[in-house]
């Protein structure tokens, strides 16, 4: 051992001996464990009793279909978001209970019910999960799901890599979930503050869980970025020039350029910290020549671009939703594209605004302040452009539009508080206070609003029926009540001087506002309930809300509305030729809405593969072994990963052709079904949406068997 470990280690079990010292009698951990067990058992028995293992394997686990991968990305994101929300509930209740020296403490806490040991893990997990395992997968999911159809492609440039990206993300999420029960998680904030994350101050396995799960997840995201960029550059349909690219595709491009260039920086920063913790180097220690602020710099050189990585696609959602329900093209397309690219570019030059208070010289701080405020320019332009898109429009307000408008106002307030934080003279007062927390939750909520809008907007395209509007509106207003009740008090507390990450609240004057925040989380809880009801009601009533037209809203504008609803697994019967920006609107105007081509051609499609799933499984085990320093297991699984990659690289049988006649037959059947000429003997399966009612019966895997 090159480093001093607290606790036992042996060559076979690594540090697992530590588990004997963990106190599993904690009722909260026990309760969480029971929930996971019950949920897991329910899901597994459902799959077993309905005989769906084969279906699960063929349709989902081994799929390379970008739509299904997209849906799974979003599902993983939603599940992790729920986990993150439970963390949030605990933080809000702890802070509301632990006010003042007289507040009682239970379960080993001096005040409230979460001692620092647990509380610090809870907020660290919350932040890390919400950003890297909820927001990021949900947005990547939408890019996967929508972008290829928007550019008239059949799939991504690298379908296999796409599946690998998803399953690595799942591996990362699983590792974080394992940390909940086996050992502990990092306690040093989602930013991994050095030197707090160094071995002497974080002697447990928590930081190691944090490091390896981010490392695994970020490999997934980087692979995804390569793939999305390559797809946009190489897979566009004929006529889809850069000037005609749908705006969401542009934002996908901008955002993934950020991801591709910034995630490696994070990877390196975390790898150096890993070396400090595993072999005793001194990159970020205070002693022996280490430089702890170097970590902070590297982290934020990734971290700030990352926040724009998640916000830019949200801008893309708004730019798709607002024109559709204004019945007008987007105002200032070129400006919007330039603004997205400008934000992506400038986001690289502002990282130091996260630690103005480090004591840099006024020259340095002024530079980063002004660079940061420059981001405000393209952001402001976007707000104006959306307002002018609605101006002289014919506005309708179904739920996607409500979410979009909510998002717009959140952008205005969040942008304003961001511009305040960008001024060092102000930042010195509110840095690390709950004002910052309110600012960036404001920004992330903008993304959440836009993403819920996008969900309702694209849902009918993906699943073939609309979501229930009534419950959608209940969901929206409850969620908005939650947002206001949590974050208005939080901004206020920021002005009162409350610092972030406090386990114990020394000042009783903060109590009323903290209680309001608890009420806000209650609204969020109700809103989640409304969302579940919305999904349930919509699925129950799906025949009533079925959409057969290719364009679910009647006024949509871009290419994804030009294929069947839901799209067949090959997306388009023949690759469309693009004539205009807003191609679908152009065709509608010119009466070219017939989807049946005159002539059918062979279609070239990728085959399913289980290799990504296998590689990710080994990666998960390898990550676990590294966390617990079980060297033999880490080495073995790493070797397995390499072997799997080598075997895959010799597999030449990775694609197949659907003959033109077969395409014609399938297309005719889809149309017949849509027109009701084929009685709905077997209703379209709800979950089979992405592949289309049709594809769920006739999948690439099955076809290979018939060949």
């Amino acid at each position: 051992m090159l480093v001093d470990l607290q606790g036992p280690w042996n060559p076979i079990f690594g540090r697992l001996g530590l588990l004997l010292e963990v106190h599993y009698n904690n009722p909260i951990i026990f309760f969480a464990f029971m929930m996971v067990v019950i949920g897991g058992t329910a899901a597994l028995s459902w799959v077993t009793f309905t005989g769906r293992w084969g279906w699960l394997w063929r349709e989902w686990l081994t799929t390379v279909d970008h739509k299904k991968l997209g849906i799974m990305y979003i599902l993983v994101g939603l599940v992790m978001m729920l986990r993150g929300f439970v963390d949030a509930l605990m933080m809000r209740t702890q802070q509301a209970m632990a006010v003042g020296p007289d507040s009682p403490g239970v379960l080993g806490a001096a005040h409230g019910y979460l001692p620092p040991y647990h509380f610090d893990q809870v907020f660290t997990a919350h932040g890390m999960i919400m950003i890297l395992l909820a927001a990021t997968p949900i947005l990547v999911g939408f890019m996967n799901l929508i972008m290829p159809i928007q550019i008239g492609a059949r799939d991504m440039a690298y379908p296999y890599l796409n599946a690998l990206g998803l399953w690595l993300t799942v591996a990362a999420a699983s590792l974080v979930m394992i940390a909940l029960f086996v050992g502990d998680f990092s306690h040093a904030g989602w930013v991994g503050l050095t030197p707090l994350t160094e071995l002497p101050y974080s002697p447990g396995v928590g930081v190691d869980y944090y490091l390896w799960s981010i490392q695994i997840g970020s490999i997934g995201t980087t692979i995804g970025a390569v793939n999305l960029i390559a797809t946009i550059i190489k897979m566009r349909a004929p006529g889809m020039t850069w000037g005609r690219l749908p705006i969401f595709t542009w934002t996908t491009l901008a955002s993934n350029i950020i991801a591709l260039t910034s995630f490696p920086v994070l990877g390196v920063a975390l790898a150096l910290l890993t070396l400090d913790r595993y072999i005793g180097t001194h990159f970020f220690t205070a002693d022996l020549g280490g430089n702890l602020m170097m970590y902070t710099n590297l982290f934020w050189i990734w971290g700030h671009p990352e926040v724009y990585f998640v916000v830019i696609p949200a801008f893309g959602f708004l730019s798709e939703i607002i024109p559709t329900f204004s019945e007008k093209p987007l105002f200032g397309y070129v400006t919007m594209v330039l603004a997205s690219m400008a934000i992506a570019g400038v986001s690289w030059t502002v990282w130091l605004h996260h630690f103005f208070t480090m004591g840099a010289s006024p020259g340095v701080n002024s530079y980063f302040s002004i660079a940061t405020m420059l981001v405000g320019i393209p952001t402001g332009v976007k707000v104006f452009n959306w307002a002018f898109t609605m101006w002289r429009g014919k506005l309708r307000f179904p739920t996607p539009m409500l979410w979009a408008i909510g998002s717009l106002f959140l952008l205005i307030t969040g942008g304003m508080t961001g511009m305040m934080l960008a001024v060092p003279a102000i930042n010195y007062l509110v840095h690390n206070s709950v004002f910052v927390i309110a600012h960036f939750h404001n920004m992330f909520l903008l993304i959440v609003y836009a993403a819920f809008g996008a969900t309702v907007y694209w849902w009918p395209k993906v699943f073939g029926f609309k979501l229930d509007e009534y419950w959608g509106k209940v969901f929206f207003w409850l969620f908005t009540a939650g947002t206001l009740f949590v974050f208005v008090p939080m901004y206020t507390l920021g002005f009162m001087g409350m610092t972030r990450r406090l386990d114990y609240i020394p000042h009783t004057s903060w109590e009323p506002l903290l209680l309001l925040e608890v009420i806000g989380t209650g609204f969020y809880l109700l809103s989640i309930l409304a969302f579940v009801i919305q999904l349930g009601v919509s699925i129950y009533n799906r025949e009533k809300n079925r959409v057969v037209a290719s364009d679910a809203w009647g006024t949509s504008r871009s290419v994804e509305w030009m294929t069947h609803t839901p799209p067949p697994f090959y997306n388009f019967a023949v690759t469309p030729v693009i004539h205009a920006r807003d191609e679908w609107a152009w065709r509608r105007e010119h009466g070219l809405t017939n989807l049946m081509p005159e002539k059918f051609l062979d279609i070239h499609m990728p085959k399913n593969t289980a290799v990504p799933l296998i590689i990710s499984f080994f990666t998960l085990v390898c990550g676990f072994a590294l966390v617990w320093r079980i060297w033999w297991l880490a080495a073995a699984t790493f070797a397995a990963i390499i072997i799997a990659m080598i075997i895959r690289s010799f597999d030449k049988d990775t694609d197949y052709i659907i003959p033109a006649a077969e395409v014609e037959r399938m297309e005719k059947e889809i149309v017949a079904r849509a027109e009701g000429r084929i009685p709905a003997g077997e209703p379209a399966p709800v979950g089979g949406g992405a592949g289309g009612a049709y594809a769920s019966k006739r999948t690439p895997t099955q076809r290979r068997d018939n060949d």
Binding site: L18, S366, R392, V423
Partner: protein, 316 residues
């Protein structure tokens, strides 16, 4: 079946918390009640920044709301389905933000110098303080306590800061363990306190009183209890206090300090006084931290159970 709409008044219920922004008593708003020129300058720049931004943001919000209500489909207002470009508007949408950011940039530059922790011009360029002899205080954070060393007076106080009013106080700051953040909201903004490094800060208190100081950067299990009272007292009271500390205190040399630096959660908010402080203690702490000679590992489960014997040994 047609569903009922959600009643309007219920929807506006969601907006109630906005009311909070008004009508609150401001005494607890430390940021709005500065008691010294540095914090006052911070507040000044906050107000300037918000006012300048409001010049665009308020009209933008009003315009957006107006558009949303004016152009609902049901209003049958003028619909222009082709309108998607206008050079005039483009100039406007880029021009306005550029101008605003330009103005903000100027104030930001000015403000950064005004409250620069190395040399805050609101103090150093202020003729009022030109002739006052500044007080020097060395600040050392440990896991999880504060040590304030008054090198000229040869005294030190743990977890309490006492300063004379109307006197510039110059701080040098370092940490023995992890990064902390020195913050007294009503007197001065934040600056990091980093191990093996030295940062600086300056403040003047213009009103006697007791102000809250604390660490504003997560530093581990005892972080939430890392508060210190800041007492701004008259010159005479300050001198009397110094004498008193000198009388009652204990000697503080490096070994004693190293013992003090052991991980300790200051649950009870205890204050300790020391007299006869070893000269150059601050520099010696930095040197030992850099050489790896002053470092305590945190026990793995220290704060898991705050009733445990282990925790009791590490708290006071």
């Amino acid at each position: 079946m047609k569903r009922k709409k959600i009643p309007m008044f219920l929807r506006f219920f969601a907006l109630i918390p906005l009311l909070l922004l008004g009508g609150c008593n401001t005494e607890h708003f430390w940021l709005f009640n500065p008691k010294g020129p540095v914090a006052a300058a911070n507040l000044y720049y906050m107000v300037v920044d918000v006012v300048i931004m409001s010049i665009v943001i308020v009209p933008t919000v009003i315009f957006t709301i107006w558009v949303i209500s004016r152009y609902r489909a049901s209003k049958k207002a003028h619909h222009d389905p082709k309108f998607s470009h206008s050079n005039g508007l483009e100039v406007l949408v880029w021009g306005i933000p550029i101008i605003i950011v330009g103005v903000l940039a100027f104030f930001s530059y000015e403000g950064t110098h005004a409250v620069n922790p190395w040399n805050p011009t609101v103090i150093t360029k202020n003729p009022k303080y030109a002739d006052t002899k500044p007080l020097e205080v060395d600040v050392v954070t440990t896991d999880w306590q504060w040590m304030f060393i008054y090198p000229k007076q040869h005294i030190a106080v743990a977890n309490e800061l006492v300063i004379p009013v109307h006197t510039p106080v110059h701080f040098r700051l370092t940490s023995t363990s992890v990064t902390n953040n020195f913050y007294i909201p009503q007197l001065v903004g934040q600056v990091y306190v980093m191990p093996g490094m030295r940062s600086k800060q300056s403040l003047v208190a213009t009103h006697t009183g007791e102000y809250h100081g604390f660490s504003a950067a997560l530093s581990g299990g005892g972080f939430s209890w890392m508060d210190f009272k800041t007492k701004a007292v008259s010159e005479a009271d300050f001198n009397a206090w110094v004498e008193k500390v000198k009388q009652q205190g204990r000697r503080l040399a490096y070994p004693k300090f190293a013992a003090f630096a052991k991980p300790t959660v200051n649950l009870a908010g205890k204050v300790h006084y020391f007299s006869d402080v070893q000269p150059g203690l601050f520099a010696e702490v930095i040197k030992n931290v850099r050489d790896g000679k002053l470092q305590y590992a945190t026990p793995m489960f220290l704060t898991e159970n705050m009733d445990s014997k282990e925790f009791k040994q590490h708290s006071n």
